[in-house]
């Protein structure tokens, strides 16, 4: 009834090709943006920012990045944690070497450095596929973590091997370090999330994204119709690593502030982001957000319900979290293998017809 194309005419090509061609969709998108940019910063506090929104936004960028590689280009990667570490350490080295430059530039440069590293580790994808590529990227994960643990130059020879973010600002407002306001860090991350989603969305529906999808669906056929697999695969690795690097840089500098590579960027991080996109939906930008929200918010919600409301012992709740999250993952994969994004798509189809079933 509300959600339908009928009566929504496009008179130019631009209107016809916009991201959200249905009016209701478009307005919903503007409302979400409005709330996120204008309303939330006024009501946000430290708890909401540091426990829920920052991790959600940052993981959403990582999930978008990995989704480009795995969901759109079909190259399985288990190196996300390692690439996030590259972003974090690149950001740290830049922050400490050039303290006067804006954090925006540092984060973007950290993303570019990660993109270069990603291309390097993407080279084997030209010869190996599927599970074998997963193993090759796993090697990247372990190598990068080992490297950042091993070479003191990366952590500026600090005694503990930790990197900690010094105070840096954007337009005179502190973004990193202890003296930050919740709204500032939130908005800073939000800007990166919105830009990432926009870029990713437009890349994936343009010619680059179509090439990626052609490679994903059948690489030999794609090659025959003129897609260069070298360029397609390496651009996918580069773009994906760029986003993952940006998220790693934000994760370290804005969210945690101090990081230890083995603990923060271990193999579990790679799996976490992979689970996000599998649950959210492979090959969908919305799915990246949904998956990140699911895996970041659910444990916190379970904790609040279990410990704060019911007063259960913390260890029982912690174990219960594993059980519930694990069970939900299995249920989702059985009931809807295409993830939350597919559920959303089905819901939209149903809404178009509602209230008439046929």
């Amino acid at each position: 009834m509300f959600y339908r194309e009928a009566g929504d005419f496009s008179t130019t090509y631009a209107e016809d090709q916009q991201t959200f061609p249905i009016k209701f969709d478009r307005y919903r998108y503007y409302v979400v943006l409005f709330i996120a940019i204008v309303v939330v910063p006024f009501i946000i506090n430290d708890y909401w920012a540091n426990s829920l929104l920052l991790p959600f936004l940052i993981y959403a960028i990582a999930a978008i990045g990995l989704n480009i590689l795995v969901g759109y280009c079909g190259q399985v990667s288990l190196g996300t944690g390692g690439f996030m570490a590259v972003g974090a350490y690149a950001c740290y080295k830049l922050m400490t070497s050039f303290p006067d430059i804006s954090m925006f530039i540092h984060i973007l440069l950290a993303g570019l450095i990660t993109a270069a590293v990603g291309v390097l580790f993407g080279l084997p994808s030209l010869r190996i596929k599927g599970f074998y590529l997963a193993v090759a990227t796993l090697a990247a994960q372990f190598f990068l973590v080992w490297l950042f643990n091993r070479v003191p130059w990366f952590y500026n020879y600090s005694a503990s091997g930790q990197i900690s973010a010094p105070e840096r600002s954007v337009f005179g407002i502190n973004i990193t370090g202890p003296n930050t306001e919740a709204w500032a860090t939130y908005l800073f991350c939000l800007v990166f999330v919105i830009l990432s989603a926009l870029v990713a969305r437009n890349l994936t529906r343009g010619s680059v994204g179509r090439k990626w999808m052609a490679i994903r669906d059948m690489d030999i056929a794609a090659e025959i119709i003129g897609v260069n697999p070298l360029r397609a695969k390496l651009t996918a690795f580069a773009v994906s690593s760029f986003f993952v690097g940006v998220s790693g840089a934000l994760f370290f500098s804005v969210y945690l502030g101090a990081v230890e590579v083995g603990e923060a960027f271990g193999i579990t991080k790679s799996f976490l982001v992979l689970f996000m996109i599998i649950i959210g939906g492979l090959g969908s930008i919305f799915g990246s957000f949904a998956g990140a929200a699911f895996l970041v918010l659910l444990p916190v919600v379970l904790k609040v319900v279990g410990v704060d409301w019911f007063g259960w012992p913390t260890d029982i709740v912690a174990h219960l979290q594993l059980v519930v999250v694990g069970a939900l993952i299995i249920i989702f994969l059985i009931a809807e293998p295409h993830g939350l994004a597919q559920l959303w798509r089905v819901a939209k189809e149903k809404l178009r017809l509602w209230p008439f079933p046929h």
């Binding site: 430290d46 708890y47 503990s160 502030g257 101090a258 083995g262 410990v307 012992p313 709740v317």
Partner: protein
């Protein structure tokens, strides 16, 4: 359903509302994950001591205490979440029992004016209170421990370590890397050769490290381990028949659960400590009457008297004493984190005070000052007796080598101060 949720929310608010007057001691514990073996007894001891205060004395200065427990699983992200969710409840002090989480919280807590007591862990250079105004690590820190180990080895080798080979098996994290600098400096001073053997998180895989030890036959092995890593290392040492009395751990590698899995083979293993071991203290009678017999013991209640349970009690006792001082100094029962910090900086623990609390000779006497947040650095050595299944102190509490440690503390804290533009806080 909506109605039900609504009532639940109201009930939660009402349950929380009268609790505002409590003295809140958050416990960022970990009862799950690979480090739970160490996290459980500490959290139990910490909680039981405050339960004892509530039951026996009606709290501190008549105000009941409340321990808010939050599970971190030794994970820094969860640690941050726990910090943010508990600090709003009027938290007086944080004791995260994790070096990684401590590093995260140092700048945050300083801004929020809540003290951190990282007792025997955390950032060692926080001993310099001039730079780290809100962080305390009395009565001992990692560098004291490192020096304590070497002092003990010096003593057992007739004062000469020249040409000896010492291997450090350490957790490859901020925690495990802390002592390296100090041991290297001490190596230069005493002429021993240090071999570094990192073990990656969580520490179940140590075959190659112990193969290297078997090949190189170091005179002593020093361990900086935590969680599951400890038991694996002691088992591996037993497997290669490394003499246990030459194997010495830091105070986080010397509890019952670390040595019990290796059985009789662990006999003679040593670890340093900064407080007494065993349950031969009057306070345990009180805990039995007021906590255990009333069925209020934290956790499963099976940890009482273990090394880390004692450490939990000790940590809680130091926090409670500081809270008492803060109440006295400000003439109010309703104290804040800032008052707590000031009281910690002036904390004076004497033998009479510990004895009056039922803990005579439990830890060293010490006096905290603005410049020195690190305490005296007195380190003793305990040895495991596998037949009696108990730890016994085999040395006196010995002063650590401050000639080596103090310059390192000054250097590291100065670096932190310049990185973060911190001005001197002591006048």
């Amino acid at each position: 359903m909506k109605y039900k949720l609504g009532t639940m929310a109201v009930a939660a608010v009402m349950a929380a509302a009268p609790a505002m007057a409590d003295l809140v001691f958050p416990s960022l514990s970990y009862r799950t994950g690979p480090y739970a073996a160490g996290g459980i007894p500490f959290a139990d001891g910490y909680a039981d001591y405050f339960t004892l205060l509530n039951e026996r004395d009606g709290g501190i200065g008549g105000v009941p205490t409340r321990v808010v427990e939050c599970e971190t699983a030794y994970n820094t992200e969860k640690g941050v979440e726990c910090y943010e969710s508990t600090k709003g409840e009027g938290a007086l002090i944080y004791q995260p029992l994790s070096t990684g989480i401590t590093y995260q919280l140092i700048p945050k807590a300083t801004v929020d004016d809540i003290p951190i007591h990282s007792m025997g862990y955390g950032r060692t250079s926080a001993a310099n209170g001039d730079v780290f105004s809100h962080v305390f690590n009395y009565p001992g820190n990692y560098w004291h421990a490192a020096s304590g180990v070497i002092n003990y080895l010096l003593e057992s080798n007739g004062g000469d370590l020249n040409g000896k080979k010492i291997a450090l098996v350490y957790h490859n994290s901020a925690y495990g890397k802390e002592p390296i600098r100090t041991l290297e400096e001490l190596g230069k001073k005493h002429g021993f050769e240090l071999t570094l053997l990192p073990v990656d998180h969580p520490g179940q895989e140590q075959k190659s490290q112990w193969l290297q030890i078997r090949r190189e036959k170091p005179d002593n092995v020093v361990m900086w381990g935590w969680g599951v890593m400890n038991q694996v290392a002691i088992q591996e040492a037993a497997n290669i028949r490394y003499p246990m009395d030459q194997f010495i751990g830091v105070w986080w590698s010397g509890a019952q659960h670390d040595v019990l899995p290796a059985g009789a083979a662990a006999d003679g293993y040593k670890a340093v400590t900064f407080h007494a071991v065993g349950k031969d203290y009057p306070i345990f009678d009180d805990i039995k009457t007021h906590v255990v017999d009333k069925g209020m013991a934290a956790g499963a209640g099976d940890q009482i008297g273990t090394v880390l349970y004692n450490r939990g009690i000790y940590a809680a006792m130091l926090a409670a004493e500081a809270a008492k001082d803060a109440q006295a100094a400000n003439d109010t029962t309703d104290i804040t984190g800032g008052m707590m910090r000031d009281a910690m900086e002036n904390l004076n623990i004497t033998e009479e005070r510990m004895a009056s609390l039922g803990m005579p000779n439990f830890g060293p006497e010490f006096q905290v000052s603005c410049e020195n947040h690190g305490g005296p650095g007195l380190v003793a050595v305990a040895q495991w007796d596998a037949t009696a299944e108990e730890w016994n102190l085999i040395s006196e509490f010995v002063q650590a080598d401050m000639d080596v440690i103090q310059p390192l503390i000054d250097e590291d804290s100065a670096a932190y101060a310049s990185e973060n533009n911190i001005e001197s806080s002591c006048k």
